[in-house]
């Protein structure tokens, strides 16, 4: 991926490799599924660490006040997170290109330009955060940032986690510039 850059029109843009577009599309689709499955009234579900991190306790020492806060805010927060993830998928375009590559490719597929307006930037920043929060849970990242997941997937998951952070940092720097 090439770094995001601010355009004169106010948008930011970056070139993504097709494989990166596919990856982001895949993890964002999974996030959408997770968000869509969360029932804010289901206490057992809210106790799951990943869900807990997406909808943290506002009152850590007062379960009653925390539950009340969640009653008033969880649906709206989930709606926002869902809309953001959907906006990310929208900016990635449809996946026709990636599904056609069944034959052996004769040449490398071309990088894909990703252009984001002001509103899409906000959706991307937030969704990249939500993705990292969920992946961090999968990686069993401890309070010092050290992952403890140790299975055949841990390297791949760790690479995805770091890549998502790189994309987000690049986006933050681009809008800061």
């Amino acid at each position: 991926m090439m770094e995001f850059r601010r355009e004169d029109s106010g948008t930011v843009s970056a070139m993504f490799e097709p494989i990166e577009v596919d990856l982001l599309r895949q993890v964002t689709s999974q996030l959408l599924q997770l968000l869509g499955s969360i029932d804010a009234d289901d206490t057992a579900m809210l106790a799951q660490p990943a869900v807990r991190r997406l909808l943290p306790d506002a009152y850590p020492d007062d379960p009653e006040a925390a539950a009340e806060f969640r009653r008033f805010t969880a649906d709206g927060l989930l709606e926002g997170k869902l809309a953001n993830a959907a906006a990310v998928l929208g900016a990635l375009g449809d996946d026709e290109q990636s599904t056609v590559q069944t034959d052996a490719p004769a040449h490398d597929p071309l990088p894909v330009p990703i252009v984001l307006d002001e509103q899409q930037i906000q959706s991307w920043l937030r969704t990249l955060t939500d993705l990292r929060l969920v992946v961090a849970d999968r990686l069993q990242i401890d309070p010092h940032g050290v992952p403890h997941l140790d299975d055949e997937e841990s390297h791949v998951v760790n690479d995805i986690y770091n890549w998502l952070g790189m994309v987000q940092e690049s986006l933050v720097y681009a809008i800061d510039a």
């Binding site: 506002a58 806060f69 805010t73 920043l125 955060t129 939500d130 990292r132 961090a136 990242i141 010092h144």
Partner: protein, 94 residues
């Protein structure tokens, strides 16, 4: 209805007594650059102040990013959760 009014009145009475604070906690996931960006864009503080708050979160484990009545602090905490930051509210220390 009366119950809601009652609890609102109680809250206001409490909030006059002692203000509430919005606390943002350090977490190993969120990038320092992003946290500073959130403080700057949401609270409208200068880049230097956002950096100072972010470093306070990072180094001390938490920072008070806003003080005021309970409802405003709940609004801030909700906004922080929207950004994916780990925020809570609490009564201000006496």
């Amino acid at each position: 209805m009366p119950q809601i009014d009652e609890s609102t009145r109680v809250r206001e009475a409490i909030s006059l007594d002692r203000p509430w604070v919005t606390v943002v906690w350090d977490d190993p996931v969120n990038l320092m650059s992003y946290v500073a960006y959130v403080f700057r864009s949401y609270f409208g503080v200068t880049a230097a102040e956002a950096e100072r708050l972010m470093l306070q979160v990072h180094n001390n484990g938490r920072a008070i990013v806003a003080t005021g009545d309970r409802e405003s602090m709940e609004r801030h905490v909700e906004a922080m959760h929207g950004y994916g930051l780990w925020a809570t509210l609490d009564k201000a220390e006496e």
